[in-house]
C-alpha cells in the first residue's frame, strides 16, 4: 500500500495521541484512584426497598473514624433524604437506588455523578476535604416534573458536625401539688461515645446533667419537676443538648374535685 | 482585493468563534470582557480585516488573485 510520508507521520502522531489518552486514564484509575461506578453496589428489587436493611431508613450513617455511609432512595420526583449533611475531611460512600424509573444522583459542579437505575444500587465513595454547600439534581429524564427533582448536600466543618438527635417526652399539664417528669432522649449516631450535658430550663430554674451516650446508642435523662416550685400557670421549658433544643409548655392547674394525681406520674 | 469576497465572508464568520472563545480564554488571565467590550473587539477585528482585504497588494492596485467560482 502506498502511503505518503506526511500521512505516515500523521498516523504515528495519531497513535501516540490515542495511546497517550488511554495511558492518562489508566493512570487516573490506578494512581490517584479515581474509581468508576461499577457492579459493587449489587442489585435490589424495587418493590422490596422498604424491607431492605440499608434503604428502609435512608440517611447518613457513621461507619467509624471519618467514614460515613449515605443511603438515598430516588423516586419521581424527589430524593429521600432530600437534605444530606456530612462533615468535612470525611470519606462518604453513597448508596443510591430508584423506586420507579431511571434517575441520576448528581452533585452539581462536581464529579459525584451516577445513574440510578431501578433494580440496581449505585455505590460511590467520595472524599470531602473542605466544607461547602452543593445542590443535588436529577439529570436523567424521569417524567413530567423531572425538572423539580433536587436535593441539597451540606458539607459542614468537622467541629460543627454530629449525629446527635434529641427528643423529649413531657406532659402538657400537671395538677398543682403533683410532680411530673420531663424525659430527654439523646440518640448518638456516631460510633464513638458522646459525652455531653443535658440541660433543662423551666421557670427560673436551670438543671444540668452530664451524660455519656454510647456509640450508636441512646440514653434517657429524666428531670423531675415539682409543680409546687413553679406555682400555678403556664411555664415554658427548654431542653438543650449541644446545639439541639426542644421546648414546650407545662401548665400547672388547680385540681378539680377530689381527684388526685392524674396529671403526672411523678414519684421519682 | 487581497482575497475573494466569498473568502472574506468566511473569515468574518470565523471571527465569531474566535471572539467567543477568546473571551473565555482571557478570563483565565483575570481579564473579563463584558458583552459590549466583546462586541467592540469583534467590530475592530472586522474593520481591520476589511481594511486589510481592500488594501492594494504590494502597493499596486487590486490584483484579484483568487477567483470566486
Amino acid at each position: 500500500m502506498n502511503i505518503h510520508t506526511y500521512e505516515k507521520v500523521w498516523l504515528v502522531a495519531a497513535m501516540v495521541l490515542i495511546v497517550g489518552f488511554i495511558a492518562t486514564i489508566t493512570y487516573g484509575a490506578v494512581g490517584p484512584g479515581i474509581a468508576m461506578i461499577d457492579d459493587e453496589g449489587g442489585d435490589i428489587n424495587p418493590d422490596e426497598i422498604n424491607d431492605d436493611e440499608r434503604f428502609a431508613e435512608p440517611g447518613v450513617e457513621h461507619v467509624g473514624g471519618n467514614e460515613y455511609e449515605v443511603a438515598v432512595v430516588a423516586q419521581a420526583w424527589s430524593y429521600t433524604p432530600s437534605q444530606i449533611e456530612v462533615p468535612a475531611n470525611s470519606e462518604v460512600t453513597f448508596y443510591v437506588t430508584s423506586r420507579d424509573v431511571t434517575h441520576s444522583f448528581s452533585v452539581v459542579g462536581t464529579n459525584v455523578n451516577t445513574m440510578v437505575i431501578p433494580g440496581q444500587v449505585s455505590e460511590m465513595t467520595v472524599k470531602f476535604d473542605e466544607p461547602g454547600e452543593y445542590g443535588i439534581l436529577c439529570n436523567e429524564y424521569c417524567g413530567e416534573y423531572h425538572h423539580t427533582m433536587e436535593g441539597k448536600l451540606n458539607v459542614v466543618p468537622e467541629d460543627e458536625f454530629d449525629m446527635t438527635e434529641l427528643s423529649v417526652e413531657a406532659d402538657d399539664e400537671v395538677e398543682s401539688g403533683n410532680e411530673t417528669t420531663i424525659t430527654a432522649n439523646v440518640e448518638n449516631g456516631m460510633q464513638e461515645d458522646l459525652e455531653t450535658t443535658v440541660s433543662l430550663e423551666i421557670g427560673d430554674e436551670t438543671r444540668e446533667e452530664a451524660v455519656t451516650v454510647p456509640g450508636d446508642g441512646s440514653e434517657e435523662v429524666a428531670f423531675t419537676v415539682d409543680s409546687a416550685d413553679l406555682g400555678e400557670g403556664d411555664h415554658d421549658w427548654t431542653v438543650t443538648v449541644d446545639d439541639y433544643e426542644e421546648s414546650g409548655t407545662l401548665s400547672v392547674v388547680t385540681p378539680d374535685g377530689n381527684e388526685s394525681a392524674d396529671g403526672g406520674d411523678g414519684d421519682a | 482585493m487581497r482575497i475573494s469576497k466569498g473568502a472574506l465572508l468566511v473569515v468574518v464568520a470565523l471571527l465569531v468563534p474566535f471572539v467567543v472563545e477568546f473571551r473565555t480564554a482571557l478570563s483565565w488571565f483575570g481579564i473579563k470582557l463584558t458583552i459590549l467590550e466583546s462586541l467592540a473587539l469583534a467590530g475592530v477585528l472586522v474593520i481591520g480585516l476589511l481594511l486589510w482585504a481592500v488594501w492594494p497588494e504590494n502597493g499596486n492596485g487590486g490584483t484579484g488573485t483568487a477567483d470566486s467560482s
Binding site: 484509575a29 420526583w77 459525584v112 445513574m115 433494580g119 439529570n139 429524564y141 | 466569498g6 473565555t24 478570563s27
Partner: protein, 593 residues
C-alpha cells in the same frame, strides 16, 4: 474527474436525473422526507432553546418533554437516515454506473420507512393532547425521549413504528448489496468502487448494531408495552439500546464522511488524496463502531469497571479513522487549491472556492467536527466524563457532530443533489452561502454556551434548569448571559434553517435548466490499484467485527442477565401521562417548594 464550472453549459446535460430517472424519484422522495423532519424537528429545537433558558415560554413544562422527544427522534433518526438512504442509493448507482436491480423494491423499503415514521410521530405528538385516543387498549403516548429507557413506557405503536423504520433501512441495505452483486457478476475482476465500498461497509455495521435494538424492542419492550410480558430489566434494555446507540451516530456520520471524501475534493478543484486510506478508514468504522457502546454507560451501576475500560479503549482507537479523515480531507483540499493556483504554506487557503456554498458548507462542517472531536475525547475519558455526563456539555457536543458535521454537510450537499435530482438550477447561491455561514455562527453561539454550562453542572433534558435550593456557579460570565447566548444561537439557526428550506422549495418549483453539471465524484491521486485487495474482503472484516462485539458484550450482558434476570425483578411500566394523578403532582410540587 474534474469539476465543470456550473456556468459552463455542457452540450448534453448529464445530471443524475438524466442517467437514472427512476432512482432519482425515490431519492428525491427520501430527501424531502428528510427535509420535512428537519423543518419540524428544527422548529421544535427553537421552542426548547427559548423555553429552557426562560427567554420565552409558551408551552407547559411537562409538554417540553414531548417536544424534546419529537426533536430527538425527528432529527437524530428521521432526518439523518432518510438523507442517508437517499445519498447511499445515489452513491451506489453512480459509482457502479447502473441502476438498482428493481426500483419497485426500492420504493417498497422507502414506503416502509415512511409508515414507520408516521406511526412513531403519531405516538409522540399525541403527547400534546389532553386526553389522547385509546388504541390497542391504551392511550397514545410516547414521552420517552429518543433513548426510550425502560421502565418509561411508550405506546406499542411507537415501538412498532421504530421496528418498521429499521427494517425498512435493512431492506435498503439489501437493495444496495444486491445491486452491487449484480454489478460484480458483470465485472468480476474489478475493485469495488470507493463510494460503493463506503456504502457496503456502513451497511454491514448497521446490521450488526441494529440487531441489539431490534432484540431490545421485539423481545422485551414491545411485548411488555402490549402487556404480554409483565416486567423488564431496565439495565439490560438500556445496554442493548447503547449497543446500537453509539453505532447509530457513525451511521449518520458516514454519509457526511462520504461527502468529504468523494465530493469535497472535487469542489476544491482536485482529487482525493488516497483511495486506500479511505478504505482503511471505513473498515475501521466497520470493526469498531459497535463494541464501544458501553462508553455511554460509564456511570451505570451493575457494569464492572473492566468492561467500561474495554469500551473506552475501543472508543479511543476509533479516533484513528477520524484523525486520518482530517488529514486526507485537508490534504485533498490543499491539492485542489494548488490546482487552482494556490501557493504558500497557508496561502493556498485563499485559492479555495469559498464563494461556493457546497464547498464552504462542507468545509465549515468539517471544522466544527474537529472541535466536536475534542469535546468527544473528554466524553470518552472514563474519569473526566463524570464531570460532564448528562450535562448540557453533551448536548453541545452532539450539536457539533450530528447538528453540524452531519446536518450542515447534508444541507451543503443538498445544494448539489437537488439540482442533480430535479434538473433544476439552485434558486439562489448567495442565499445558500449565507445560510451555511449563519448555521456556523448560530451553532458557535449555542454550542459554546452549552459546553460551558455543562462544566458547572447544568443538566441536559430538563425543561426548567432553575432550582429552588441552589444556584449554578459559572466559572466565566453569568447563567443569564449563557442562556442568552443559547437563545441567540437558536434563533440564528432557525433563520438559517428557514433559508435552507426556502432555497429547496424555490429550486424545486423552478424551471428546468440545461446548465446542470455532470453527475460525477472526485477522482483519486492514489487510486484503488494502490490498496491491497484484502481491504475489499467484506466477509473477513464482518467476521472480525462480530468477534469484537462478542468479546466486548458477552460478559457484561451475561452478568446483567445473571443479576437482574432477562425480564427483571418485577419492574412494571411507567406511562407518564396516564400514570400520575394531578393531585399527586400538586402535593409533590408543594413538598418540593
Amino acid at each position: 474527474m474534474a469539476t465543470s464550472p456550473p456556468t459552463e453549459v455542457t452540450a448534453m446535460r448529464n445530471a443524475y436525473v438524466d442517467q437514472f430517472p427512476d432512482e432519482a424519484r425515490v431519492i428525491k422522495a427520501a430527501f424531502w422526507s428528510s427535509f420535512i423532519a428537519l423543518a419540524i424537528g428544527g422548529t421544535l429545537g427553537l421552542v426548547q432553546a427559548l423555553h429552557r433558558t426562560d427567554v420565552f415560554r409558551f408551552i407547559q413544562s411537562p409538554d417540553y418533554y414531548t417536544v424534546l422527544t419529537a426533536h430527538g427522534v425527528l432529527l437524530a433518526i428521521t432526518f439523518t437516515i432518510f438523507f442517508l438512504v437517499g445519498t447511499f442509493t445515489w452513491a451506489v448507482t453512480t459509482s457502479l454506473d447502473r441502476g438498482v436491480v428493481d426500483v419497485r423494491f426500492t420504493w417498497a423499503w422507502y414506503i416502509m420507512m415512511v409508515i414507520g415514521t408516521v406511526l412513531v410521530a403519531i405516538a409522540i405528538f399525541s403527547g400534546f393532547l389532553e386526553s389522547a385516543p385509546s388504541v390497542l387498549g391504551s392511550e397514545l403516548n410516547a414521552d420517552v425521549l429518543f433513548t426510550f429507557y425502560a421502565p418509561l413506557e411508550a405506546h406499542p405503536i411507537f415501538y412498532i413504528g421504530l421496528v418498521l423504520f429499521v427494517v425498512g433501512s435493512w431492506l435498503a441495505g439489501v437493495d444496495w448489496f444486491r445491486t452491487w452483486l449484480a454489478w460484480r457478476s458483470e465485472n468480476p475482476d474489478e475493485r469495488i468502487p470507493l463510494p460503493t465500498f463506503m456504502v457496503l461497509t456502513t451497511t454491514l455495521f448497521w446490521y450488526i448494531c441494529t440487531f441489539g435494538v431490534a432484540l431490545s424492542i421485539l423481545v422485551f419492550l414491545l411485548p411488555w408495552s402490549l402487556g404480554i410480558t409483565e416486567s423488564v430489566n431496565p439495565l439490560l434494555t438500556r445496554t442493548l439500546f447503547w449497543y446500537f446507540g453509539h453505532a447509530v451516530v457513525y451511521f449518520w456520520l458516514m454519509p457526511a464522511y462520504m461527502m468529504w471524501y468523494i465530493m469535497l475534493p472535487k469542489f476544491s478543484g482536485g482529487k482525493l488524496f488516497s483511495d486506500p486510506l479511505a478504505r482503511v478508514v471505513f473498515v475501521l468504522f466497520l470493526l469498531l463502531s459497535t463494541p464501544l457502546g458501553i462508553h455511554h454507560q460509564y456511570l451505570d451501576p451493575g457494569i464492572a469497571e473492566g468492561y467500561k475500560f474495554i469500551a473506552m479503549t475501543n472508543t479511543m482507537f476509533l479516533l484513528l479513522p477520524s484523525l486520518l479523515t482530517a488529514f486526507t480531507v485537508v490534504a485533498s483540499m490543499e491539492h485542489g487549491a494548488r490546482q487552482r493556483g494556490g501557493e504558500g504554506y497557508l496561502g493556498w487557503l485563499k485559492a479555495l472556492p469559498w464563494r461556493n456554498p457546497i464547498f464552504t458548507g462542507m468545509a465549515l462542517a468539517g471544522l466544527m467536527f474537529a472541535a466536536a472531536g475534542f469535546s468527544g475525547m473528554i466524553n470518552a475519558g472514563m474519569n473526566i466524563n463524570y464531570l460532564v455526563h448528562n450535562t448540557w456539555w453533551v448536548v453541545g457536543h452532539f450539536h457539533l457532530t450530528v447538528g453540524t458535521a452531519v446536518a450542515l454537510t447534508f444541507m451543503a450537499a443538498s445544494y448539489w443533489f437537488i439540482p442533480q435530482l430535479t434538473g433544476k438550477e439552485l434558486w439562489n447561491r448567495s442565499v445558500a452561502l449565507g445560510q451555511v455561514l449563519l448555521w456556523f455562527i448560530g451553532m458557535t453561539f449555542m454550542s459554546n454556551a452549552m459546553h460551558r454550562s455543562g462544566l458547572f453542572g447544568m443538566p441536559r433534558r430538563t425543561a426548567e434548569p432553575q432550582y429552588q435550593g441552589f444556584d449554578f456557579e459559572p466559572a466565566v460570565g453569568t447563567v443569564g448571559e449563557i442562556n442568552m447566548q443559547v437563545a441567540l444561537g437558536g434563533v440564528i439557526l432557525t433563520l438559517s434553517l428557514a433559508l435552507f428550506l426556502l432555497n429547496m422549495i424555490m429550486t424545486s418549483i423552478g424551471d428546468d435548466s440545461e446548465s446542470i453539471p455532470d453527475n460525477t465524484y472526485a477522482g483519486t491521486l492514489s487510486g484503488a490499484e494502490d490498496s491491497p485487495r484484502i481491504l475489499d474482503n467484506l466477509k473477513l472484516w464482518t467476521a472480525i467485527a462480530v468477534v469484537l462485539v462478542i468479546i466486548a458484550y458477552t460478559l457484561p450482558l451475561a452478568s446483567i442477565i445473571d443479576a437482574g434476570g432477562l425480564f427483571g425483578p418485577g419492574i412494571e411500566g411507567v406511562r407518564l401521562s396516564t400514570w400520575v394523578d394531578p393531585a399527586v403532582i400538586e402535593s409533590l410540587g408543594e413538598v418540593i417548594r
